[in-house]
């Protein structure tokens, strides 16, 4: 359950290869969180996005075809004048040539686009090691560049880089897991055909092409939210008409408008509250939609949400439901907040405690009869911190007096006399419950390290036994030891980052997210929910520290999320 065990990863591949999984089953796997720790999420997504057929025997030709197509596109759109395949004519291929056919003239013309993309790629998931890698950055730039050139009507828009990033992450992760399983002889029982299919699928030489193909499919769903708001002339242009009074022309704003209407159906009091404060979904929802909630959840939870979203195409319905679930999930916080407070909760969405319960709420909105609503007690969040682990701007502002909406609503507000209020007596137990839970989760995070240490110790002990018995090759033992070493090393690196002397403001923000991909059979840093399972399933590893122990302050501020 936690990491794909030897037989686990093999079994996962076999399921896909033998076509045991139908689309319906795939959807069920997505919704129940089966891919949260799997090595086959990239396969699942490729099937869901119709980049691959369900029949594995057709995979190789299909994928090879798409890779060839990408290569053609790339050479057409990304002129690299230094590429030997570029025009050989020295008259043309020369930076000073002003000829329009010169690869250099195209290269210079694209300069602005390249800069724009690079600026965003450079600040993609700064807390995740993978995206600091120069090769990964250059891969992302190329993919976005080719996409922009091949789709001139939409081009590159900010935000696309954070749609691409999770796709890159998932592909990379699965490539690594495959490679590792192979080197670990875990796939010995597969026949040549099966191995060949997996080899082609996970070939890291085509990382860029594969990322592009996935990206295009996701963007196909998202283009309505990225396209320019048409400067569409209203039917009868009027000289005195204010532009803002014309109809909403962008599909993004229209979508957000519709979501607002659905909130009115599902949660009338919340809808009224937000409407009275003049906080339409358009004010905060642009980012939620364009990034498919990428800033509102930590990456592992986000990938799970995407499992659910991508398995329900066209995605706009389920996205609407996720959007509504986000609002309803924090409704108590919102109802108790004024204009500024609400916006800060919406712009800095408080971390969700249990993403499974969250997903259940979204699925409930999608099909209320089929999916039951989770209990309210399951819907908790850390409302006094941000996803980055910093103190939430709304934290402890019960006493703050901030708070009128802008002039427009001041008059309305005055009539209603709505004020920020302290906790009511009967709310205190619930609030306390949430705080206690937060402390418990912080405690669990501390336990992560102990778990990793314990697992590592156990592995070393086993390896020593193997060494004594001579039952394993020295090379294998060395490789495994190196892994254990890396795992432990990553812990100490963590710690170094946390010492106050070494902390720059930049590092302070940096959260350690698994820099090493998940590897089968090796311990890794666990997510909150997994830890909870672990703590209940695996009593002997949990609570090596008493739960009452105080959490040091700097930990509260720099919580690792993975």
């Amino acid at each position: 359950m936690i990491t794909p065990t030897t037989s686990g990863i093999l079994r996962e591949y076999q399921r896909f290869l033998s076509c045991e999984i139908g689309v319906d089953e795939l959807i069920t796997f997505c919704r129940t969180g089966s891919f949260r720790t799997a090595a086959t999420r990239s396969i699942a997504w490729r099937i869901l996005l119709k980049c691959l057929p369900i029949n594995s025997l057709e995979w190789v030709p299909v994928i090879e075809q798409s890779r060839r197509e990408y290569a053609t596109l790339r050479s057409r759109h990304v002129a690299n004048p230094r590429d030997p395949l570029c025009v050989q004519d020295p008259q043309l291929n020369n930076p000073l040539s002003e000829h329009s056919k010169s690869p250099w003239s195209r290269y210079f013309a694209d300069g602005e686009l390249r800069d724009l993309i690079l600026k965003d790629v450079a600040r993609t998931f700064p807390e995740i090691e993978l995206f600091q890698d120069a090769e990964v950055k250059s891969l992302m730039c190329s993919v976005l560049h080719v996409y922009a050139k091949d789709n001139p009507f939409i081009g590159y828009k900010q935000g696309m880089h954070e749609i691409l990033a999770p796709l890159v992450f998932v592909l990379y992760n699965d490539q690594q897991l495959y490679q590792h399983a192979l080197e670990d002889f875990q796939l010995r029982s597969l026949d040549r055909t099966a191995l060949h299919i997996l080899q082609v699928l996970h070939d890291s030489n085509y990382f860029e092409a594969d990322a592009y193909v996935l990206f295009c499919e996701v963007m196909r769903e998202l283009t309505p939210w990225y396209e320019d708001a048409g400067i569409v002339e209203p039917p009868e242009p009027h000289p005195f008409e204010r532009l803002q009074d014309t109809m909403i022309t962008s599909r993004l704003l229209k979508e957000l408008n519709e979501i607002g209407q659905r909130l009115a159906e599902f949660d009338p009091p919340l809808y009224r509250h937000l409407t009275n404060l003049d906080i339409p979904a358009q004010l905060f929802g642009i980012r939620w939609l364009r990034l498919l909630f990428g800033r509102e959840f930590p990456l592992p939870d986000l990938l799970f949400l995407w499992d659910i979203i991508l398995s329900d195409r066209p995605i706009s319905r389920i996205v609407e439901c996720v959007f509504l679930a986000m609002l309803v999930y924090i409704r108590e916080n919102l109802l108790a907040s004024d204009y500024g407070g609400c916006l800060q909760f919406l712009m800095r969405y408080p971390p969700v405690v249990d993403v499974m319960a969250f997903a259940q709420l979204a699925l409930h909105f999608r099909a209320p009869l089929r999916n039951s609503r989770p209990k309210d007690s399951q819907l908790t969040n850390y409302s006094n911190m941000t996803l980055q682990g910093t103190v939430h701007p709304n934290a402890g502002n019960q006493k703050r007096t901030v708070s009128q909406p802008p002039p427009q609503q001041r008059s309305q507000q005055a009539n209603r006399g709505k004020q920020r209020r302290p906790y009511r007596q009967e709310e205190i137990p619930k609030a306390l419950g949430i705080f206690e839970e937060q402390v418990a989760v912080l405690q669990q995070r501390l336990n992560e390290r102990d778990i990793v240490t314990a697992v590592s110790a156990k592995r070393i002990e086993e390896l020593v036994k193997n060494l004594e018995r001579g039952s394993l090759e020295i090379g294998t033992i060395a490789a495994q030891l190196r892994e254990v070493g890396q795992q432990l090393g990553s812990l100490t690196m963590d710690r170094r980052k946390e010492t106050p002397e070494a902390k720059s403001p930049a590092q302070e923000e940096r959260i350690k997210v698994a820099n090493e991909p998940v590897r089968s059979g090796t311990p890794r840093i666990f997510g909150v929910n997994e830890l909870r399972e672990l703590n209940t399933n695996n009593q002997n590893f949990s609570h090596s520290k008493p739960p009452s122990q105080q959490v040091p302050r700097d930990r509260v501020l720099g919580i690792p999320r993975f």
Binding site: P126, Q158, F240, R242, D245, I286, P406, A506
Partner: protein, 211 residues
């Protein structure tokens, strides 16, 4: 709308400018007193509040940060509504970001549509003044531009080194406050989707529709 001084002022400030000039960094430097070179790209808009004392008056500033790519009402009307001050930002090392100031200013005036556009408070910030060796726009040039726009106040700042940020935002608050006390009705209470009749601007009682 009521007139007379309010006990507590609330100011809505909008920051506009090209992507990468440092809008997000400026807002965070002002509100949270720190700089990070790891801010993610702003998508849509972002929002922070800060309480400040201006001449013995407690003022809450609601600062709206925008993505440099958002144009042509893609942010929607609610975003611009009720703005008290518009901060234009450019990067002193990037002349394109300076050239685009005109279109940002026009954009704001079109979207927010204040009644007295010539006197609406704008403030210009030239950011990244710590990179003096890479400067591409001279202070003189920026000042000339400001003069041509009815004397917009101009500040050179650095979000990175926290230079002038505090004083610039103080001035922003002051300007916005001055305007607020006039209690002008720049943003009449019309619901979003209702078209204005061309003659309606001159009439006293709204609501009538003669289409």
């Amino acid at each position: 709308m009521s007139s007379g001084p309010r006990k507590k002022a609330l100011l809505k400030v909008i920051i506009l400018g090209d992507s990468g000039v440092g809008k997000t960094s400026l807002m965070n430097q002002y509100v949270n007193k720190r700089f990070s070179n790891q801010y993610k790209a702003t998508i849509g808009a972002d929002f922070l509040t800060k309480d400040v004392m201006i001449d013995d008056r407690l003022v809450t500033m609601q600062i709206w940060d925008t993505a440099g790519q958002e144009r042509f009402q893609s942010l929607g009307v609610a975003f611009y509504r009720g703005a008290d001050c518009c901060v234009l930002a450019y990067d002193v090392t990037n002349s394109t970001s300076f050239k685009n100031l005109d279109s940002w200013r026009d954009e704001f005036l079109i979207q927010a549509n204040p009644r007295d556009p010539d006197h609406f408070p704008f403030v210009l910030l030239g950011n990244k003044m710590d990179l003096e060796q890479n400067r591409a726009v001279s202070s003189k040039r920026a000042q000339t531009w400001c003069q041509s726009k009815n004397n917009i106040p101009y500040f050179e700042v650095s979000a990175k080194e926290a230079l002038n940020v505090e004083s610039a935002f103080q001035a922003i608050a002051r300007d916005a406050l001055a305007r607020e006390s006039q209690d002008s009705q720049d943003f009449p209470d019309f619901p979003d989707q209702i078209r204005l009749d061309p003659n309606q601007n001159n009439r006293q009682q709204g609501g009538g529709c003669n289409c």
